[in-house]
């Protein structure tokens, strides 16, 4: 799937990946690729501005990890969880509608 097609869905994808636990930037991208079976072509440099924006909007929080290497780890906030619920339901309705049209 081309990067252009992901426009508008990246936020939901990031929130969805972080639903299962905190991750750092590189791991988020790897998880996005893995969960999509490699079919999502995510321009890697675009994920970081989105992470910072989602954090500024209060949907994520982040902190430096204490491991061998300094890493910024992101976690979903309660508000981010609610936003994910909204995005999920919007996507379901959208996909159902598009499916209904394309199936005919």
């Amino acid at each position: 799937m081309r990067a252009e097609a992901l426009k508008g869905h990246l936020d939901a994808l990031i929130l969805g990946v972080l639903e299962h636990g905190p991750l750092h930037g590189y791991a988020i991208i790897e998880e996005l690729k893995a969960r999509s079976g490699g079919s999502l072509e995510i321009p890697e440099g675009t994920v970081y501005p989105a992470l910072h924006r989602l954090e500024a909007a209060g949907l994520l929080v982040s902190r430096w990890s204490e491991g061998a290497r300094r890493r910024r780890v992101y976690r979903l906030t309660a508000r981010g969880g609610r936003e994910l619920g909204v995005r999920r339901s919007e996507w379901t309705s959208f996909a159902k509608a598009v499916d209904a049209v394309l199936a005919t």
């Binding site: 890697e44 501005p49 924006r53 910024r72």
Partner: protein, 282 residues
């Protein structure tokens, strides 16, 4: 020059502050350590994305934070204003300082209300936008900033009024004014960092700043769409009538009419003076 050095320079060029810049560079360094062949995009493009996305979020946040602070200050202003109508003030008491202070309070509270409300309204209308145009972000942040400054000036006006009235005013009233106005100024100052942050980092996307049409959308009657001056005259007329009606209700129609005319003229003057700067007209 390494990729990370270039990225740091580009981030600085678009206005990303030192702390966030170091953090972004550290995150990209970690990514490249995990995958040295990763294609993270041209540094200038990455910096542009950060400016667009963070600038948009910061502009909206500045509008909401300043509106919340102005709402608190507005409630305290209401307490000050209502208690000023009581017997706390001797009818013969006056001083130049008190007049100047009252003038500041009455004029600036209206500017603060209009600027702060319109900042929040535009931010609300653009709440779903991932990126807003730079001129529009400038207008939003400008409104938020003017709202805060006008709010602080209004509260300072009340303090000057209380100080100027001296023994003409009851001690409890002066204490109340100093405490409530001082608290309001502190609340408004606490909102200033959000506005300053949005002033430093602005989106780079091109586009129009918009005007009252974008603010009010369908709330704007068709006859007033694209006619900002006509809108200003209607609002000024409504304000003048409301103030005059209050005068009639207080059994002082002549004074009410005078005050109505003065308030209406002040509305039009404010629109002429700040309309373009605050993005009310193009």
């Amino acid at each position: 020059m390494t990729y990370l050095d270039d990225l740091s320079q580009q981030l600085r060029a678009v206005g990303v502050d030192g702390r966030r810049r170091r953090r972004i560079v550290a995150e990209f360094a970690d990514h490249l350590a995990c995958d040295p062949r990763a294609d993270l995009g041209a540094p200038s493009e990455v910096a542009r994305q950060f400016a667009n996305q963070l600038g948009t979020t910061l502009a909206r946040r500045a509008a909401y934070v300043s509106f919340a602070a102005l709402a608190v200050a507005g409630a305290l202003f209401g307490v000050d204003f209502l208690t000023a109508q009581t017997r706390a003030l001797a009818p013969t008491g006056s001083s130049t300082l008190a007049y100047v202070g009252a003038g500041m309070a009455l004029a600036c509270c209206q500017v603060a209300f209009v600027a702060g409300s319109l900042a929040a309204l535009r931010a609300l209308r653009r709440r779903g936008a991932g990126v807003i145009a730079r001129p529009e972000a400038v207008v939003i942040v400008r409104r938020a900033g003017i709202g805060l400054v006008a709010g602080m000036t209004a509260m300072l006006g009340f303090i000057l009024t209380a100080a100027g009235l001296g023994h003409y005013a009851a001690t409890w009233w002066r204490t109340l004014i100093f405490a409530s106005s001082g608290t309001a100024i502190v609340v408004l100052l606490a909102a200033a960092p959000a506005v300053l942050a949005a002033m430093r980092l602005r989106p780079l996307a091109a586009g129009p700043a918009g005007d009252l049409n974008e603010d009010l959308g369908r709330l704007l009657p068709p006859a007033l769409k694209g006619r900002p001056w006509r809108f200003a005259v209607v609002v000024a007329g409504a304000v003048a009538l409301a103030v005059a009606a209050a005068g009639v209700a207080q059994a002082d129609p002549f004074d009410g009419a005078l005050r109505g005319l003065a308030d209406g003229a002040a509305c039009l003057g404010g629109f002429a003076l700040l309309g373009r700067y605050l993005g009310l007209r193009v």
